[in-house]
């Protein structure tokens, strides 16, 4: 009752506030409507007010022409703009090369723009807020006394990491370029791989404070419009103050906020992203991170490595099965071991049972405790190794291997069999190319082990049923997460349970409902005679 009353009260207060326009929201220090005035001094003061006294913001005042000289100012951020560029193509042209008669009461803006600024990209802008954003992105703003317009010259040139091979997604064969932290370079990389005019890149700014550039890339005509529209909607819905990595978007966009399974695939490899675009997916690039997201995502994408497509297809097929097995083992192996060794003794072949029993002789812990101990030790080792500097990381792994692999067994604290199980589980988990999915299975292993220890195989089955039921409910931008298994699509299985040769993959994935589903016509299979197979 009290709660209801409070709620009612709040509603009334809100209503009154809205009526009187008392919303105290001023998102930034610059008002929404502020525009440039004709007076340079005023404009500069406004800019100064907005940008504060930051040391990296440079305001260079100078004059153009002589009869009479026109006052002008250039505002840019030191470090983001290329100084030689500014000096050579903006200041030199305006101060020295400009004809004397350019000055006057009404400076000829179009002449400056068309004849003097030898910069590729120049825009006119009146809105102060946009000008500030542009300056903070690396442009130089040229303000001229008497003009209510600023000329934004593209002088962006900051130090950035060179294009190098992605560390997390290496490969033996295939393109070795990887995305970098700069959005423009990344979009350029996409263009380099995909020269079609149908590759479209839409850009928007997200993050009220970080003002991060976010780009959607897709191939017009291949992408399904509904999926694209959903992506646009979801991105425009986001109203947060910061986007520092593409992973922020993963959690803020549509989907299942509570699922532990990865709902977005990401990659650092342009070739992988381009391949996804050609399947009809949408890529989301975020400035400041080399990780590009691809949607819609299905579970089996995490088993596909880009190298699969660059190596012999039989081998790729074999490797995919191996990864699936590795995934299942990393999820189930410790629990199966616990279940069999504590409850279902009759399931083990006799000689193995005797060997296991002999190995466990004198171990003080129950199998569950032993498994948890070893798993926690293993996870700690890995966690410690990931973030430590490389030389230290090696030391950790040596100590860990010695302590866990040897000393613990010799001391009779854990059985050798358990060490084998945990070690093999760890190795099996690394066969899956996506470490995102592995994080999930690493975590799910623990409830699975508990269920196995308390209920045996029925417990494992119960947890699996819950997991499967959960997986079937997941959808990524309208595409079922478990497709093409559920719903079934034999066509798509060609690239899931196997890796069909390119001449056999005629169609794009059905689950993506592409308006142009055919990749290539049939009859591409090479023959000995060089004729088409059906001729």
């Amino acid at each position: 009752m009290v709660k209801k009353l409070t709620k009612l009260f709040n509603n009334i207060v809100n209503a009154i506030n809205n009526k009187h326009g008392l919303t105290p929201e001023v998102p930034s220090s610059v008002k929404q409507e502020s525009r440039l005035s004709r007076r340079l001094a005023l404009n500069l003061r406004q800019l100064k007010q907005a940008l504060g006294d930051s040391s990296d913001i440079v305001t260079r005042e100078f004059s153009i022409g002589e009869q009479p000289p026109v006052h002008a100012a250039l505002v840019f951020v030191d470090g983001l703009t290329g100084k030689p560029l500014v000096q050579e193509h903006v200041m030199k042209s305006l101060m020295i090369k400009a004809p004397r008669e350019i000055g006057g009461k009404k400076p000829d803006l179009s002449k400056i723009r068309e004849n003097l600024l030898t910069i590729a990209d120049v825009k006119e802008e009146r809105d102060l807020k946009k000008i500030i954003h542009s300056v903070l992105s690396g442009d130089s703003a040229l303000l001229i006394d008497g003009c209510p317009v600023a000329l934004l010259t593209d002088t962006r040139a900051w130090e950035s990491r060179g294009i190098s091979e992605p560390v997390a997604e290496g490969g033996v064969r295939g393109p070795r370029d990887g995305f970098v932290e700069t959005l423009r370079i990344n979009t350029a990389l996409l263009r380099r791989h995909l020269k079609s005019p149908d590759l479209r890149i839409e850009t928007m700014i997200l993050g009220n404070t970080t003002r991060t550039d976010v780009a959607i890339a897709y191939v017009q005509g291949i992408v399904n419009e509904q999926i694209l529209e959903k992506v646009r909607q979801d991105l425009s819905r986001i109203d947060t103050d910061s986007i520092l990595d593409s992973s922020y978007l993963e959690e803020l966009m549509r989907g299942h906020p509570y699922t532990p399974f990865p709902m977005y695939e990401h990659s650092e490899r342009p070739d992988k992203i381009v391949a996804s675009l050609l399947e009809g997916r949408v890529a989301i690039l975020v400035d400041g991170t080399p990780f590009v997201i691809v949607v819609p995502t299905i579970l089996f994408q995490f088993f596909q490595a880009s190298e699969d497509y660059y190596t012999i297809y039989h081998v790729s097929t074999f490797l995919r099965w191996l990864r699936l097995l590795g995934f299942l083992l990393s999820l189930y192996l410790p629990s199966l071991y616990i279940a069999v060794i504590t409850i279902h003794h009759e399931l083990i072949p006799t000689s193995l049972a005797l060997a296991l029993a002999g190995a466990r002789e004198g171990i003080p812990f129950p199998a569950l405790a032993e498994a948890l101990l070893m798993e926690i030790a293993f996870e700690s080792l890995r966690e410690a190794g990931v973030r430590l500097p490389k030389p230290l990381g090696q030391a950790v792994s040596i100590v860990g291997a010695l302590i866990i692999g040897d000393a613990a067994v010799r001391a009779g604290l854990v059985s050798p069999a358990m060490v084998i199980i945990v070690a093999f589980t760890g190795i099996a988990s690394f066969t899956v190319p996506s470490y995102k999915l592995i994080f999930t299975t690493r975590m799910l292993r623990f409830p699975m082990m508990l269920a196995a220890a308390f209920l045996g195989l029925p417990g494992i089955i119960m947890v699996s049923v819950v997991l499967l039921a959960h997986l079937t409910t997941l959808k990524s931008f309208g595409v079922p997460y478990l497709s093409p298994l559920a719903p079934y699509s034999g066509q798509d299985l060609k690239d899931v349970l196997a890796r069909a040769p390119w001449w056999a993959m005629r169609r794009r994935p059905q689950s993506l409902r592409s308006p142009d589903p055919v990749r290539q016509e049939s009859g591409l299979r090479p023959t000995l005679s060089g004729k088409k197979p059906n001729e």
Binding site: I341, T342, I343, H345, E346, T350, A353, L354, A355, L356, A357, G358, A359, R360, E361, G362, I363, P366, A367, P416, L450, A451, A453, F454, L455, G456
Partner: protein, 397 residues
């Protein structure tokens, strides 16, 4: 309470269910006594059961460290009780570990107990959750616990050796071992009587006074009571009739010149067909076998001299006839012993009549025990020597 809170509380409550289940049948594998073989004797003229278990000493199976000591790899424990189940329970007074029967390979029933009836034992075996359907039921000539104490050289655990012997015996058509399922099926069907393999201790001089264990012929049951034994020849006779013979050899005198021939049969088929003749039921028994020559002591070099190979065809025919006679002889021996002497229908003739001639069976069912010993059985054996195995016509120089 909000919906979310409710869900969280439900989830936590569900987690508690885990703990409620407890560790109901959780038993660490190293806290178990792996029973590899079970022996059952009767004491006091059948009033008491003596159960002995051969358990694996798991410590010796860990490969590293202390495994190589002189410790024995198995131990036998014995307890008595008024019923087999009670006797097993009583074992816990000596054995500090919980018994695990699911890895038990064989059950040895002593001769005395078998003679007085095995039904209580098989009932116990069937009711026990852990004993497998495929456990072998054997009859021990003498005492079962003495047999279980015997050591072998090759395997760590005697039960392993015995089960290997049984398997090999079946593969070479020397014996037949009934699993619990077979035995129970035959026991619960009035139209077949069960058989089981037998085991005996041999005080063997050749093995430096070390007693050995040997697989013997079959133990024939009438209903659930041991009726008698079959020797090696009769045992194979039984295998011919039931079609259980798999592969093996028959040695014959060489038909043309002095020497011996070994016929190795590879495929055996037998068909039991009941028929009514002159108002009486008779059994037609067809046995077919195929095989090769294992060896041929006959100097076939000399036969090659005529260059025609004709001698070979003659030889094949002679061997085939010899094999047929031997098989027939073995079958007759088995039939004589089982049908006339033990009066046990271990071949399942009654079952065959019931299946093929149900109307006749209804007529004779009541008097089956009287009819069976004088049941007429017509035997037809055909042997097929597939080829001489001769590689070429040898020209003698």
């Amino acid at each position: 309470m909000s919906q979310k809170k409710k869900i969280i509380i439900m989830f936590l409550a569900a987690l508690l269910l885990y703990l409620h289940a407890g560790c109901w049948s959780r038993r660490e594998i190293n806290e178990l006594a792996f029973v590899m073989a079970l022996g059952i004797d009767s004491l006091d003229g059948g009033k008491l059961y003596k159960v002995s278990v051969q358990t694996a000493n798991t410590k010796t199976f860990a490969k590293e460290g202390s495994g190589s000591t002189e410790e024995k790899s198995f131990a036998v424990y014995t307890a008595t009780g008024a019923t087999p189940a009670e006797a097993v329970r009583n074992l816990s007074q000596q054995l500090p570990r919980r018994l695990l029967l699911s890895h038990c390979r064989l059950v040895l029933i002593s001769e005395n107990l078998a003679k007085s009836g095995v039904e209580p034992v098989l009932d116990f075996l069937q009711r026990n959750r852990e004993v497998r359907e495929t456990v072998w039921v054997l009859v021990a000539k003498g005492q079962a616990d003495v047999l279980l104490e015997q050591e072998f050289d090759m395997e760590d655990i005697p039960a392993d050796t015995l089960s290997r012997l049984i398997k090999l015996g079946e593969e070479t058509s020397r014996g037949y071992a009934a699993t619990k399922r077979d035995f129970l099926y035959k026991l619960t069907t009035a139209r077949i009587d069960p058989v089981a393999a037998s085991v005996e201790v041999l005080p063997d001089v050749a093995r430096e006074g070390k007693p050995g264990v040997q697989l013997g012929g079959l133990a024939v049951f009438r209903a659930d009571k041991l009726a008698g034994w079959l020797d090696a020849k009769e045992t194979r006779g039984f295998l011919w009739v039931t079609g259980e013979a798999a592969a093996g050899s028959i040695v014959l005198d060489s038909p043309l010149v002095p020497g011996k021939v070994t016929f190795e049969f590879l495929r055996v088929q037998s068909r039991v067909t009941p028929q009514v003749r002159d108002g009486r039921v008779v059994i037609l028994l067809d046995v077919e076998t195929q095989g090769d020559l294992g060896d041929l002591a006959e100097p076939w070099v000399s036969r090659g001299q005529d260059n025609s190979g004709g001698g070979m065809e003659e030889l094949i025919k002679e061997v085939e006839r010899g094999v047929q006679e031997t098989i027939e002889d073995e079958i007759l021996a088995a039939l004589h012993r089982v049908q006339r002497e033990y009066k046990a229908d271990i071949f399942g003739f009654g079952d065959a009549i019931h299946r093929r001639l149900p109307n006749e069976w209804r007529k004779i069912e009541e008097r089956w025990d009287e009819i069976y010993p004088s049941l007429e059985i017509h035997i037809k054996v055909s042997a097929n020597l597939r080829s001489s195995g001769q590689t070429c016509h040898y020209r003698h120089r």
